[in-house]
């Protein structure tokens, strides 16, 4: 997956996996400090714009986006939902989930795009 693909999923420009199933995004509250970096990096624009898109009321009835309070909950939700995609600190992954390469790189790879301070 490319960073642009991830951005499209977060912006709801891409809503289905190639097999047709609806993508469910599982993330922490977009207002949390940890999410600011991801929103800016993956969605482009400002964190405020990104938050507004993620918080759009129209997404909620279809359950295309779920906000949870911890990385542990993200991992558990993704483990239980085969159409879900989540974003967590790499130190919180388990073997119950797959880590998706972004722009052909995984966490700890040199030049991995979702690394910040």
């Amino acid at each position: 997956m490319s960073l642009a693909d991830l951005g499209k999923i977060l912006r709801e420009k891409t809503t289905n996996w190639p097999n047709g199933r609806v993508i469910t995004v599982v993330i922490r509250d977009p207002n949390s400090p940890a999410m600011k970096f991801v929103i800016e990096k993956a969605m482009g624009g400002t964190a405020e714009d990104g938050k507004a898109i993620l918080n759009e009321e129209s997404r909620k009835p279809a359950a295309s986006i779920i906000f949870v309070s911890s990385d542990e909950d993200i991992v558990k939700t993704v483990e239980a939902n085969p159409t879900a995609i989540g974003i967590v600190d790499v130190y919180n992954i388990t073997s119950g989930v797959k880590v998706i390469r972004i722009d052909d790189k995984q966490p700890f790879d040199p030049g991995y795009v979702l690394k910040g301070h």
């Binding site: 997956m1 991830l6 996996w17 190639p18 097999n19 940890a34 970096f37 991801v38 993200i74 991992v75 993704v78 483990e79 939902n81 085969p82 159409t83 879900a84 995609i85 989540g86 974003i87 967590v88 600190d89 790499v90 130190y91 919180n92 992954i93 388990t94 073997s95 119950g96 989930v97 797959k98 880590v99 998706i100 972004i102 995984q106 966490p107 700890f108 790879d109 040199p110 030049g111 991995y112 979702l114 690394k115 910040g116 301070h117």
Partner: protein, 511 residues
């Protein structure tokens, strides 16, 4: 400037776009796993240990209690060696020895033996082996996943969580997460002393030093007859600049256990930091006599040689380092041999001659035998970073670019923090020399704990007109109290300049 934490996000899924065809298998696996979960199982509180030898099991346990609980590191490693001798097919024993040893050829050998015998281990034990070996060979994503699986399965295995916290603290320098893991252990058992020790270091190194001494008091009270609490207290106080009290604690540790050599080194290094180099040499010689591991002995010889540079006696220093390098060569310790040349370069006031010293260091690392690729590249990265620092000192942009080229190709394939940090530092050095100060600042901030990078960062901030930031960075530098060569080269001139209200630059740090 406070130390910034690096974070890295993972995108996770169970069912990934483009691999829809595998989903039935995944479902079948999940179903099988559910069936297993539903079966009644009696499980221990700790990760299983599989060996056919009672002696191997006993030695393994003694190794853990010495290495992990009481910090008798050499004795602990010796017990691990005995355990794999008693059972040569003991996979977890080999993995543990590979994880803890400081001897590069032993590390290579034991990793291979752990891999070869892993099939004999129990499933959960395999996860621990995967974590231990993965952290050594760069397979960090599956290693972390394996550790989190284990922590979830064995929430009462304090030693396991402490070992993870210690790795986050030492190898990953992820002080906040280490603190979080260790705080959780202590919430369940407030007196678990190995976690008290590691949590104090997590706070001290992570910018919350004021929280460390109370934990040290608790650690000392929990183990009144043991040397390590006193040793750790000494080191924490030394980091905070309280040298007299640090010496008291180190001496108390040695009164409790006269062979506890790390406290002897602590005393020597404290004298070195206080500027009493003659006394430091005397104390280092005692430490060299006390240490059993050849790598420890050689590392202390390097610190001993460095005292001559610290007191500005370059002729004696070069002679001492040349002798130590020759001995390291004789003993097949390439990292130590290369370090001798690199240290000499850092203290060399003549840039051209310093580059020759670094050529000698690189030549040592050209021999690829008996050393893991990662270990070799970490040292090479340090050598190249030093080259770029010296290039800045000389205003030599070509030399800095050349060092960056070497690091760039290494950083494409090596995920190790040491390599990545060195790359950013060298990139910052090139940008600095090209006058791109804001680019340099951004790059140098990626390596916020290395005194060489901090010195360049202060210079770049100063050149960019960010005077307040530059002063803050210099104050961070001046507060560092450790025994590394980088600190010995960079920090004393910074302290002197701050005292006289000046702003020293990299160009002025050559001794």
């Amino acid at each position: 400037m406070g130390f910034r934490n690096t974070f890295e996000f993972a995108i996770i899924a169970v069912f990934v776009a483009g691999i829809a065809a595998v989903s039935p298998i995944a479902r079948a696996q999940k179903s099988a796993a559910s069936r297993k979960i539903s079966a009644p199982a009696v499980k221990s509180d700790t990760v299983p240990v599989t060996t056919s030898s009672k002696e191997a099991r006993q030695d393994y346990e003694l190794g853990l209690s010495h290495r992990e609980d009481l910090l008798f590191t050499e004795e602990g490693i010796d017990f691990f060696r005995k355990s794999v001798k008693a059972d040569p097919h003991f996979a977890l024993g080999h993995a543990t020895l590979a994880f803890f040893t400081i001897d590069p050829p032993e590390e290579v050998r034991e990793l291979a033996l752990a891999k070869a015998s892993a099939s004999r281990a129990a499933p959960d034990e395999k996860l621990l082996i995967q974590w231990m070996t993965g952290t050594k060979n760069g397979q960090l994503v599956p290693a972390i996943a394996a550790m989190n699986d284990l922590l979830a399965k064995y929430p009462n295995d304090k030693r396991l969580a402490n070992m993870y916290g210690e790795w986050l603290l030492g190898a990953q320098q992820n002080y906040d997460l280490a603190a979080k893991v260790l705080e959780k252990v202590l919430k369940n058992d407030p007196d678990y002393y190995p976690a008290l020790n590691n949590l104090a270091y997590s706070y001290a190194l992570g910018g919350r030093a004021e929280l460390a001494p109370p934990l040290m008091d608790q650690y000392v009270a929990a183990l009144p007859g043991q040397p390590n609490p006193q040793d750790s207290y000494g080191e924490i106080l030394r980091m905070l600049g309280d040298f007299p009290d640090a010496l008291d604690h180190y001496r108390t540790a040695l009164r409790i256990a006269p062979t506890f050599f790390t406290s002897q080194v602590g005393i020597a290094s404290t004298y070195a930091l206080m500027g009493d180099e003659e006394r430091a040499r005397f104390e280092y010689l005692k430490a060299i006599d006390m240490a059993k591991e050849r790598t420890d002995r050689m590392d202390y010889r390097i610190l001993w040689a460095m005292t001559y540079f610290r007191e500005n006696r370059p002729g004696l220093a070069r002679k001492a380092f040349a002798e130590v390098a020759a001995e390291a060569h004789k003993q097949n310790l390439p990292i130590e041999e290369a370090e001798c040349h690199r240290d000499t370069a850092l203290f060399n006031p003549d840039s051209e001659s310093a580059m020759n010293d670094l050529d000698a260091a690189s030549a040592v690392m050209a021999d690829k035998r008996h050393i893991l690729v990662g270990t070799r590249e970490s040292e090479l990265a340090k050598i190249l970073q030093t080259r770029s620092f010296i290039a800045v000192r000389a205003g030599d942009v070509d030399a800095a670019r050349k060092a960056l080229e070497g690091l760039n190709s290494m950083a494409q394939t090596n995920r190790d923090n040491a390599v990545q940090d060195a790359y950013h530092s060298a990139n910052g050095a090139v940008m600095f020399l090209q006058g791109d100060y804001s680019g340099a600042i951004s790059e140098l901030e990626e390596d916020p704990r290395d005194p060489l990078s901090l010195q360049l960062l202060a210079d770049a901030e100063s050149k960019a007109g960010q005077t307040a930031d530059a002063q803050k960075t210099l104050k961070t530098l001046a507060a560092i109290n450790d025994e590394t060569v980088e600190m010995a080269v960079v920090v004393p001139p910074v302290r002197a300049a701050l005292k006289s209200n000046g702003s020293p630059s990299a160009q002025e740090t050559s001794h």
